[in-house]
């Protein structure tokens, strides 16, 4: 199984796709210079995993800041997960936001608004 592990930088989050445990974590800040280029390896690693009989994926998003272009990339990520969920993979997304950061919580809810098959839950960052 091929996963993906990227260290965080100042402008990009740490990404850990652990395909043996069925777990994906995004943690840090996201305002890359080239958003499409940064998220492409994740899209393709997820595709490989989800298209090859994955049963489940538990996703955690812990982004303290993301810019407007990253918001689109996150929407695409959730849509990718949602279509796998529609085909029967058990997908959960725990999206952790700073409880004091109302706007980012709204962004997370707005980005997740059209997700119908995956189980998305917006939670307080401090709760972990």
């Amino acid at each position: 199984m091929t996963g993906l592990k990227l260290e965080a930088t100042k402008r990009t989050p740490a990404i850990d796709l652990d395909t043996t445990r069925g777990r994906l974590v995004l943690m840090g800040e996201s305002y890359p210079e080239d958003v499409a280029g940064f998220y492409a390896p994740l899209t393709s690693a997820l595709n490989t995993y989800l298209e090859n009989g994955a049963n489940a994926l538990a996703t955690e998003i812990k982004l303290t800041y993301f810019n407007s272009s990253s918001a689109r990339a996150l929407r695409d990520l959730l849509e990718q997960l949602d279509s796998a969920a529609a085909r029967g993979t058990a997908i959960s997304v725990d999206w952790f936001c700073d409880p004091d950061d109302d706007i980012t919580q709204e962004f997370a809810k707005d980005i997740a608004a059209n997700i119908s098959h995956a189980n998305v839950s917006i939670q307080d960052l401090d709760a972990t």
């Binding site: 402008r11 800041y65 810019n67 407007s68 918001a71 707005d110 980005i111």
Partner: protein, 207 residues
């Protein structure tokens, strides 16, 4: 600059508590460097973490708008010779390609963060190539955002998020909506016609 003009500039800057300013060619590297410095300064200047967060994200969106839409300034003085590689543009989508004069020269911009009575304003200015249609469209868009309630802005954000960004916008026009959502006061902009087919665009957000 003569000392008396400098004195006038300094007095108008010092009237509001000056947090940070940058003027010159803008690239992703500059965004990174100036952004890091801004975060350090916000620790001392911002009233709370929400203000600091919103100022920083408005700064990022404004700088990225300059990088995407801005052009070099009027051709006065010695021609600008970049001492670094021009902005990488692998997909060729950062410029509209309408004015070959501006190709491969990083856009010129100015950005200022200042504080007054607990409010922080972020003002950015940059040259854009004058194009009647697009210049008006940008001004109209800012004017339209000014009249929206937070709930309207949220709905626009949701709708825009569902759309694929239109080719002309060269990026998420989510950026402007995000700036408007994070600005406590309505955002404001001005377009000033300049020589050489340029317009100087200024935009202000207040948190």
């Amino acid at each position: 600059m003569e000392l008396d003009r400098f004195f006038n500039v300094s007095q108008s800057l010092l009237r509001d508590k000056f947090v940070l300013g940058y003027s010159g060619h803008v690239s992703e590297d500059i965004l990174q460097e100036v952004g890091n410095k801004l975060r350090e300064r916000l620790e001392n200047h911002a009233c709370n973490s929400a203000q600091s967060r919103n100022v920083f994200s408005i700064f990022v969106e404004l700088m990225q708008n300059i990088i995407r839409y801005g052009v070099d300034g009027p051709k006065i003085g010695p021609k600008f010779e970049p001492d670094f590689d021009p902005i990488p543009d692998p997909k060729g989508d950062r410029r509209d390609g309408k004015n070959p004069l501006f190709e491969d020269v990083p856009p010129f911009g100015i950005i200022m963060v200042s504080e007054s009575d607990g409010m922080m304003s972020v003002i950015a200015g940059n040259y854009i190539a004058t194009d009647e249609g697009e210049t008006h469209m940008l001004a109209d868009k800012v004017a339209m955002l000014q009249s929206k309630t937070p709930q309207d802005l949220r709905e626009m954000y949701r709708a825009q998020l569902r759309n694929t960004p239109d080719k002309k916008s060269k990026g998420a026009s989510l950026g402007l909506i995000e700036i408007a959502r994070k600005s406590t006061l309505p955002i404001a902009c001005e377009m000033t016609p300049m020589p050489d087919g340029l317009t100087f665009f200024t935009i202000k957000a207040t948190v």
